[in-house]
């Protein structure tokens, strides 16, 4: 199906994009790679009257190191995220996550900023972004602000971005040495979306886990940190028995999605299984 009629304007700078958003209000949508927005427009699930193309704004591209943080421009494509050596060096969890997004076409066109702003419950990134404790930079009419990952994913398809704000960059604190990572995902065979995706980071101190961080996407209307499991494992030896025992409690008290791709009970079981695998792989990599 073809999308409903819309007007198109290209913004040459973030400032210009913000003014256009203010001018057109709710009827406008930003477009970058278009791989979340265009499919829902073609299905007429979305009918924005005005598209503002930010896809060629140079200041939103690229990856750089800023002290102890890695800074990724919002327009960086999934493929660039998956292949950039600076990201692989400092945040291999993100490399692994980006390489599992959608299919090749989506990875070549879609952008990390677009995926995060769309805040799809089944998107891959939120799991890693939560575990990495990344910070999103948003620019609006009153300047820029930093939004912590834990505040960014608000609800189903809803991020903390205001209607007149542009997500400009993602800042990721570089992890200490001895940190292992893993992203485990059960993908929908048709769309590549995560029915459940679990990202884990494990920092070891000898045999004992000094830090454990787990992000879960796909399972619920909004991505979450498995804080109770993290607390249970911090300070513990991450052998198979301990990990299995802790992961068996994942999803308790969490609202699970229940739809034609999987019932809530199924998603809970898958979450526990993937969490066990992710923790064991991350612990293995932390050991080196």
């Amino acid at each position: 199906m073809n999308p409903a009629p819309f007007a198109y304007q290209r913004a040459e700078s973030v400032q210009e994009a913000i003014s256009l958003l203010q001018e057109h209000g709710e009827s406008a949508k930003l477009i970058a790679g278009g791989h979340s927005l265009l499919p829902i427009m073609k299905l007429r699930l979305a009918e924005p009257e005005q598209l503002i193309d930010i896809g060629r704004i140079a200041e939103l591209r690229g990856v750089r190191r800023d002290g102890d943080a890695l800074v990724i421009g919002a327009l960086t494509t999934h493929r660039q995220v998956a292949t950039d050596p600076a990201i692989t060096g400092a945040a291999p969890l993100l490399t692994e996550t980006a390489s599992r997004v959608g299919d090749r076409q989506v990875r070549n066109r879609g952008t990390i900023g677009g995926a995060l702003a769309h805040a799809d419950a089944a998107s891959d990134y939120p799991a890693a972004i939560l575990a990495l404790e990344a910070t999103m930079t948003a620019q609006g009419p009153n300047g820029t602000r930093q939004i912590a990952a834990s505040d960014f994913f608000v609800d189903f398809l809803t991020s903390a971005l205001q209607p007149d704000e542009v997500l400009t960059e993602i800042r990721i604190p570089v992890l200490p040495g001895g940190t292992g990572w893993s992203y485990q995902k059960l993908a929908n065979q048709a769309s590549g979306y995560a029915i459940v995706g679990v990202a884990a980071l494990v920092t070891l101190d000898g045999d004992v886990a000094r830090d454990v961080r787990i992000g879960v996407t796909g399972a619920s209307p909004v991505a979450w940190r498995a804080a109770a499991i993290e607390d249970a494992l911090r300070g513990a030896a991450l052998d198979e028995a301990a990990v299995t025992r802790a992961a068996a409690l994942a999803g308790e008290g969490v609202e699970m999605l229940d739809d034609l791709h999987g019932s809530a009970a199924y998603r809970t079981r898958v979450t526990r299984g993937l969490m066990q695998r992710a923790l064991l792989e991350a612990a293995g990599r932390a050991r080196g």
Partner: protein, 145 residues
């Protein structure tokens, strides 16, 4: 599609009943409502610009209120038609007094046709829950004021 949920109001049951069935309040609290008209006894038509974030469309809808059992329960028959499909369904609303507060239990069964039915399955249920949540939060504000 079946959905259900619960909302707690810090207001007595009679007050919540009044709010839930007041056309003026409904018009203000149903998200994105334009052109709300009473077309018969306990029957309303409205145009609603409804959705979550990018997924949004304008729906022409009709609501009929049935089986009123003041102040504890009623039913609604709902029909809607929009660019991405048609929805018809019914909902049961139950008000339970809890001291000075009221617990509203709601459940609905919707029959969805068109694009929404084919591709919307992944987004519809959480979106519907969010919209109902916005509605109740708005009512809650009115109950306090």
């Amino acid at each position: 599609m079946e959905i259900s949920g619960q909302h707690r109001f810090s207001a007595p049951r009679e007050r919540v009943w009044e709010l839930l069935l007041d056309p003026g309040i409904l018009q203000q609290c149903l998200p994105g409502t334009e052109n709300f008209v009473e077309v018969g006894p306990e029957e309303y038509e409205a145009r609603m610009k409804i959705g979550v974030a990018a997924i949004r469309g304008t729906y022409q809808g009709k609501v009929k209120i049935l089986d009123k059992n003041e102040p504890s329960s009623y039913r609604m028959e709902v029909e809607g038609k929009g660019p991405a499909g048609q929805i018809s369904g019914d909902a049961s609303i139950e008000l339970v007094a809890d001291g000075d507060a009221t617990i509203v239990n709601w459940s609905g069964n919707a029959n969805v046709r068109g694009t929404l039915a084919r591709v919307g399955g992944r987004v519809m249920q959480p979106a519907a829950k969010m919209i109902v949540g916005q509605f109740f939060n708005c009512l809650e504000g009115k109950a306090g004021g």
